[in-house]
Amino acid sequence: MSLHDHDHDDRDHDHPHEPLTIVGEPVAAARVRALVDLLVEKGVVGRDDVRQRIDWLVSRSPSDGARLVARSWVDPEFRQRLLADTRAAAFELDLDPGPSPVVIALENTETVHHMVVCTLCSCYPKALLGPPPDWYKDFPYRSRAVSEPRAVLEEFGVHLDADVELRVVDSTADIRYLVIPQRPSGTEALREDELAALVTRDSMIGVAIPAVPSPAAS
């Protein structure tokens, strides 16, 4: 072992708490932890404030959005309420639509297909869908979704007929958009919770179509 390694080991042993750096992590990881510690020491934020945000973030999941969609498939009156006031409809199902930004549900039909992007950043209805996937935040989707959306959809395996109007929604500001995909045919016998299981995250971004369960699986 080199002298340098010895120095490093000794330094680590000076810390009675967890090491700042875990093997394989980027440098930023230790920096973020140190920043939180520093800001807590300064009284800028409380550790509980941060912990509450962590608890909230890790509890977010696309299954919440899927419950809204499934209810809208089985209850036409709920569907109208969901489209008119998405936030209030989420509260009806005891779901958390998130803090102040307004969430709006967009309805896919036989003739209209919506897909959502944030070209400037990564705006996303996190409260109802969980954290966005990496591709939503990466440059290729942000660049191409607005200018060649049909090619992007094909890349996701979605082919839209030429007579379907494609509406790409670029969420630039305070509104978060959630796509209500079409209910697949052949699902008439399914219960609401079985329907919810068909609703994927990507289908609520508008880059996927909920799959019909195969006969073998049912």
Binding site: V146, S147, D170, T172, D174
Partner: protein, 91 residues
């Protein structure tokens, strides 16, 4: 205030600081499809001020073929973008 259905044009001006009007939309003509509420102005709120007065926000719809004239997208396809009032002009 603009009304639903009204034809508008996105201002073509440059803006160096933080703002929410994508470059690809500047100077393009579209139709107001939703009148949202008013929100803090991110252009000032991003610089340590209170962001007041609030700005009305609109969902404006554009023909793909108007935004990307060099492309040959499907004629009916559209782009929907939230644009703040002070970036819109009567068309």
């Amino acid at each position: 205030m603009y009304q639903r259905g009204q034809e508008v044009r996105v201002a073509a001006r440059q803006h160096e600081g933080h703002h929410r009007t994508p470059a690809y939309l500047k100077g393009k003509q579209g139709t107001v499809t939703r009148v949202h509420a008013s929100f803090l102005n991110p252009e000032t709120h991003a610089y340590g001020t209170d962001g007041l007065p609030e700005q009305a926000l609109y969902l404006v719809s554009f023909a793909q073929s108007d935004v990307w004239p060099e492309h040959h997208g499907d004629a009916a396809d559209r782009l929907y973008v939230d644009v703040f009032e002070h970036w819109l002009e009567e068309a």
